[in-house]
Subunit: 180 residues, 2 copies
């Protein structure tokens, strides 16, 4: 489908509560384990989502609206979540993500973007010219790529435990690992 701002906002609104329902008070065997060296746990992913709320999505929306293609976005720091998670509990991260997302969506709504605004262009430091519509659609799809990742990381913890059923469980054969 074409990008639809209301559909994007509907999804973005639900992600913090979805992760809260799935992860809060879940045993740490699910939430603190990763897929091996240099991979992320569900806990790390929530930290990454927080870092995106602070430095990626709405800041880039504002750069597009203010500077158009004349100023490239700040590169996103994929390791920036390290600062977000240091010394925090998962419950604290879930609360922080919910708060930041809510503030960012209030700010987005307050822009009253019109269809012609969504066609405005910005400059990504690697991808080149992108539209505001593409940026907002990516914000939503990025939530989904990390829900996809969390379900895969958690399923990985039962890779041996499921025995021969591993052949049938697609999540154990996923190669769709995000690079951002």
């Amino acid at each position: 489908m074409q990008h639809n701002l209301q559909n994007t906002i509907s999804l973005l609104t639900r992600t913090p509560a979805t992760l809260n329902t799935l992860l809060r008070d879940l045993p740490e065997a699910w939430t603190f384990r990763n897929e091996g060296q240099n991979t992320w746990s569900a806990f790390d992913v929530v930290g990454h989502l927080i870092h995106g709320e602070r430095t990626d999505w709405m800041p880039r929306v504002k750069v597009v609206l203010q500077f158009g293609e004349t100023r490239a976005f700040e590169p996103f720091d994929r390791q920036g979540h390290a600062r977000e998670i240091h010394g925090k509990s998962l419950a604290q991260l879930l609360d922080e993500f919910a708060r930041l997302r809510s503030e960012n969506l209030a700010e987005l709504r307050a822009l009253h973007l019109r269809p012609e605004d969504l066609e405005r262009r910005g400059r990504h430091p690697s991808l080149g010219v992108v539209s505001l519509s593409e940026l907002l659609a990516t914000w939503a799809a990025h939530d989904l790529t990390h829900l996809h990742q969390i379900s895969r990381v958690m399923a990985h913890q039962y890779r041996e435990a499921v025995g021969p059923w591993s052949a049938y469980l697609g999540v154990l054969h996923c190669t769709g690992h995000s690079s951002s």
Copy 2:
């Protein structure tokens, strides 16, 4: 990690509320679209989870406990969800899934399974001899494979809308499609 019954139950308990939080009242552009011919929408997946609650997990637990390896499980009907979803709304399916899961977990807890029970063996019609532990771990991992699928099916709806960012979004490159 090894299979842990309490961890399995913790996850199984959360799945209906997680899907409810993500999907209820979400625009149908997210929930009723699939990935192309002969693929499932999020709506279809919830129907499949309902069908599993009725015919797969607890019924198979009982076959293991009653008959051991002497009786193979009934094959699971991957198209069985068609009857579950016919004429229903997504809200009705979410309610039905929550009700059945809650009943099944009450029944599972009431069995008071001991570690030695988890070693008991049953017979899968295709996979051969499996343990009760593997069956229960698969119940949880199966929830995760379908959360993984739902996030992928939803992200697919924005495949074009994200423009060049599609290169970075792992969920758009997933090949981990379940066969059960």
